[in-house]
């Protein structure tokens, strides 16, 4: 893997500013795809901004019957969320591990 820099964001605004301010900036969430593709040299981030400390893991109901799934919601949590199981069973029917092995 190529050398890279790392920063941990404390709020969404700071995360966006850090990524926007670096020519090769990228967000690091769960990381299973970002790290895998970076190791394979498919992605070449010069700066990874870790957003895991942000509160973005929720699954919320929206008016009109939709859902807002946070960028940090783990697939297995999404699959098990009651609203997903009740209204979007096709998603719950394939929990995280079966979608894609890395994403618990």
């Amino acid at each position: 893997m190529r050398p890279l820099s790392y920063a941990r964001a404390t709020d969404a605004g700071a995360a966006i500013a850090l990524v926007a301010g670096h020519p090769e900036g990228a967000f690091l969430a769960g990381g299973t795809t970002e790290v895998d593709l970076t190791r394979q040299d498919v992605l070449r981030p010069g700066l990874l901004v870790d957003i895991n400390d942000l509160s973005l893991a929720s699954v919320e109901d929206l008016p009109g019957g939709g859902l807002r799934i946070g960028a940090l919601a783990r697939m297995s949590d999404v699959a098990q969320a009651p609203a997903v199981a009740a209204r979007f069973p096709v998603i719950s029917a394939r929990p995280g591990p079966a979608w894609s092995t890395p994403c618990w």
Binding site: L4, Y6, V35, Q40, P97, A98, T101
Partner: protein, 153 residues
């Protein structure tokens, strides 16, 4: 600083170092295995704050401030964890390379409440591949621990 199995460990390394390499090459905790190094096989499964993760696709630097648990930290004083004992009793391995990851996932599957029946165990253990195909015995070991603990907890 990395907290591993209840101990604070000081490390100097680049941000690109995976948690798996930090554990194996820097801390000499070689229980976690490197199979594919691309998140497919599950041999590197460890816990971060009690949640199972693939150490090969986790950057070590992201674990600062969190508690990492490896197979070496599963039980204290060299005693076997009940899941380890069940794997021995049920002959739940052949070559043993995937076993540390299987056991870290197996204990987590019980904690998560995903061991109701064999189909559920198979689904939630599906991130851990066993090339020797010891799956029936792995499921038997998990059932044993589940039933000894008084149900799916």
């Amino acid at each position: 600083m990395l907290s591993v199995n209840g101990q604070e460990r000081e490390l100097r390394m680049e941000p690109r170092v995976s948690l798996l390499d930090a554990l194996r090459e820097h801390l000499r905790l070689t229980g976690s295995k490197k199979g594919c190094d691309q998140g497919t096989c599950g041999a590197c499964t460890v816990w971060v704050d009690g949640r199972r993760v693939l150490a090969c696709l986790t950057l070590a630097v992201t674990c600062e401030g969190h508690e990492v648990t490896t197979i070496e930290g599963l039980s204290a004083d060299g005693a076997l964890h009940p899941m380890q004992a069940a794997f021995v009793d049920r002959d739940a391995f052949q070559c043993g390379y995937c076993t540390p990851g299987q056991i870290m996932s197996a204990v987590a599957v019980l904690k998560e409440g995903h061991a109701g029946d064999d189909a559920e165990i198979a689904e939630w253990m599906s991130g851990n591949i066993c090339r020797c195909a010891a799956y029936p015995n792995i499921r038997a070991a998990i059932r044993d621990v589940r039933d000894a603990a008084g149900g799916d907890r």
